[in-house]
Symmetry: C2
Subunit: 220 residues, 2 copies
Amino acid sequence: MSDDAPHAPPQTPPDLKAADGRPYHHGDLRRALVDAGRRLLEREGSAALSLRAVAREAGVSAAAPYHHFKDRAALLYAVAHEGNVALNEMVHTAFENSEPGQARIVKVGMAYVGFALANPALYDLMFETTRMYDSLPDSLEAEGQLPRLLAATFGASLPARRSDLDRHLAAIAGWAMFRGLAEVAQFRTMEPFKALLGGDKDFLEAVLGRLDFSDKPAKP
Amino acid sequence: MSDDAPHAPPQTPPDLKAADGRPYHHGDLRRALVDAGRRLLEREGSAALSLRAVAREAGVSAAAPYHHFKDRAALLYAVAHEGNVALNEMVHTAFENSEPGQARIVKVGMAYVGFALANPALYDLMFETTRMYDSLPDSLEAEGQLPRLLAATFGASLPARRSDLDRHLAAIAGWAMFRGLAEVAQFRTMEPFKALLGGDKDFLEAVLGRLDFSDKPAKP
DNA sequence: CGAGCCATCTTGACGCCGCTTAAATGGTAT
DNA sequence: ATACCATTTAAGCGGCGTCAAGATGGCTCG
């Protein structure tokens, strides 16, 4: 019933790498598996991300990953986590290189959606696993930081007198907008607009320009 | 190379049901399989939607579905399609029972997101398959009608003098907003807000109330 | 410096899956 | 009644996730 492992807990955490020196046989198989996963993801799409394929790609037996990942989902989490770190970094940079307000919203949004457009397979994977991250402890730095960044992005664009609830609702709406746009922007239907506006970048800027949270009460 | 079947083309289309009378052996297995799929979806989630499981649920052999669906994806399409018809109907009703402008945006949005909240597994499936619908011929009524409804919803809320491009961009932004909100609204993180505001309905209304496309040029 | 520990990795196996091929079945039309 | 042919079944292939048991080899401690 407790949160301990079923058998006697070992001295080293079970699925964390050795932390300083390189581990025993392979030389950090966990790292190699995640890298193999990212390679497979780019090469053949997220459907090809099987444990066996990843093990094959890393040159180990089919059961080897089970000493580093509890199951297939755990491996996907690990790959998606790296994506979240990268996305978080891009959004963070966009946040810091912009002034508060509408301009920042557009810049952060373009960073977010641009990442999804540049790494569609990886973003898909992150997307699929987000629902399950959501019910994990928030010890995952990158996953927790991103909502906070967005809250800051949208919250700060509101007039100072507005309530905390208003800020939160604005952040939620903005987050939803980014996620939705990241999805829709990949649709074939969008290509005419992209062509008309001169590419992904201008298309995103035009759509994000429609967002305005400047001054609107939560309950009319 | 042609689009004909590999063997001699039969008199009736291969994967459409018999259209009036009930077919040969089972009595409309295609219908039964889709129903079994929806049942399984609600009971065990979209991961359990295997062809074998659906066949088992319908009480036929594992290979039987292949005479009604080209592959697993085709079955998922069929189930998702029914979801799209239902969603389309709800959105259509919301559209007709509202005045143009901000009020309609909120009503249509609540219908859309409300459907996703009420049928999470089905919406997920629709969501996953939308990307592939997008590259299909638009002979699918419900799938094509929904974007048009949203375009009307957002386009009509713009002042008459605005350009067609503006209307389209507004529709895209709105569509993205709905999709994103349908996703985010299912997160555990949203529960405090829902509790604070008094439930799903008021939460959605509050967030959707943040959307404003009333008067904003496409290129500032 | 040698012996043993124990995490790591392999081998082999089980059940489920998507999908194919060939044979059986049973409405329907002649 | 009979022949046709769509429909369904039976059997099988390779791939998958996962587990149990054994082999391997780096690390630690005597």
